[in-house]
Subunit: 285 residues, 2 copies
DNA sequence: CCATATATGTAATTTAATTACAATAAACCT
DNA sequence: AGGTTTATTGTAATTAAATTACATATATGG
């Protein structure tokens, strides 16, 4: 966890002198990392060992170690801060902001994702007779991507972005089939229906969606990403990137689980593409 | 500038012993920031003053200051360290690695992307009579996503992942039309053809592809991302995420350029979804 | 109001980093 | 090639910084 946040959060556990130290650090963090313990002690008007004790209370090895942690916190420009694009932003500004907030979202997702559920999802997927990916709107392209990945594994995969097709497919599902429903909000009615229907037909339903959403309640397994993005107001951006990374993770887990002989399949798929591509370093006629 | 980059760049200015130090640091940067100068000297098999001189050569005040800079570099994702998934990795390991290397890729893309070209691409897109997104394989889902975004702007948008449709569409393009071709490698023959045909028919062709690739040569404008990923060997993962973020950026630039009255359109699209969704905090019947 | 516990500071000690200088190795010039 | 100069590296001494041990002060509960 970020040291700066930690200081703010545990300010109640601090003693009077330690609080003085905290204030000085929060006021000039950049100066702090270039100060000696003596200089900082003077600034906070406390003794050197007090500063040292302060550092230890924050679970660092000592003052130098504390400075290291502080430096790392400061390096992350704006950690966890989802910088919103403003009306008057120029290309440079909005490009930077979008990259940064996407990265912040991934970082947050990484810390919140449940490894156990991922592992179980991989389990389920490797044993699936057939895998279906369903999504609507922005999540449809994520479903497409998932199809493109899992198709390489030589497993029966389907993907529909059409409600009617999704319904028919869900109705036809049977035990051993896995249905993956993708929705950031988890409040898309049609997709909830799909999940319900699939479950009624004994399929295992994996939801890539918000925890505690209507869709989540219909799923056997919920992979929640917890990306703070209001897709009711803005276009889905970071949320959908996180979903894609999750798909990458599932696909990776899948290949690893299947073992080495299986990986020859991937090579075969890759080789089949060769004819349709220009060779590397080759120039077109 | 990033200290790690600096080390790599100025490796030529180093003496023999300094190079030994550089190698050790690049190999275990995380260990370095928690080591004393003595420990590092021993690891690199040089004397302590040599390490100190090494730090000074990189414009730091000394060893502790160098560690601070290094810590800051490491905090920004892990530049240059594209961690590959290993056969024996468990769910925890591969999940972390995929998140991290995706973030590293975005960080690298952010620094390499050309703002000017983005600005010009936005220019071109805002003035387009019709926008077409074409991609094949993994890039097809990126094209889909782009369609989903630009469609909201009430501009004629098409997206095909079928070669024949792409060809027909390209042949029918005319001046004022914009064709966006998406391909990580830029070596997919069919897509190069599409770009050529579109250009012959006076359309503006934007390539989201590798700089200096066959496809890039056929485009009017090239948005290069420079994500180090070998899609000949592995499944496209980070590269495709970077492409999506680029699309997000173009879409954002688009809305900003169009001004406020235009944004009402977005609201309209959003509102139209309301009926198909469960209300927030609402529980399904 | 005393006893105990907690917090803070002073001084000593230890550890780490830097400097000054010597030795070695490399480059350069007759 | 051999001597001279310059750059590189290491050893030992010095200095600076951080930590520990201990003493004092301040607060807290009976």
């Amino acid at each position: 966890m970020n040291v700066l946040e930690k200081i703010v959060n545990s300010v109640t556990n601090f003693s009077k002198s330690e609080r003085k130290v905290a204030e000085v650090i929060l006021a000039n963090p950049q100066t702090t990392i270039h100060s000696s313990i003596a200089a900082l002690a003077k600034m906070a008007d406390v003794s050197e060992p007090t500063v040292n004790r302060f550092c230890r209370r924050l679970d660092t090895k000592g003052f130098p170690d504390f400075k290291l942690h502080l430096a790392q916190s400061l390096a992350n420009g704006t950690p966890y801060v989802n910088r919103h694009v403003e009306e008057e932003d120029g290309p440079e500004a909005y490009t930077a902001k979008i990259f940064e907030s996407t990265m912040a979202a991934l970082d947050s997702a990484r810390h919140n994702v449940d490894i156990n559920t991922i592992n179980r999802a991989v389990d389920v997927l490797t044993q699936a007779k057939k895998i279906s990916f369903f999504g609507l709107g922005a999540s449809a392209s994520v479903a497409h991507d998932a199809q493109n990945k899992f198709f390489r594994f030589n497993v029966p995969v389907v993907c529909f972005d059409d409600i009617v097709m999704q319904r028919m497919s869900a109705i036809n599902s049977a035990e051993g089939d896995v249905v993956v429903c993708i929705s950031h909000t988890g409040r898309t009615k049609n997709l909830c229906d799909i999940a319900t229907i699939a479950r009624e037909n004994d399929a295992t339903v994996i939801g890539v969606t918000a925890y505690d959403s209507p869709l989540a309640r219909e799923c056997t397994l919920v992979l929640s990403l917890d990306v703070p993005e209001d897709t009711d107001m803005y276009m889905p951006m970071a949320s959908r990137v996180a979903q894609l990374v999750l798909i990458d993770i599932l696909a990776t887990g899948f290949t690893l689980r299947r073992g080495s002989k299986f990986r020859e399949n991937l090579k075969k798929v890759k080789d089949s593409l060769r004819g349709s591509r220009f060779e590397k370093k080759d120039h077109p006629a």
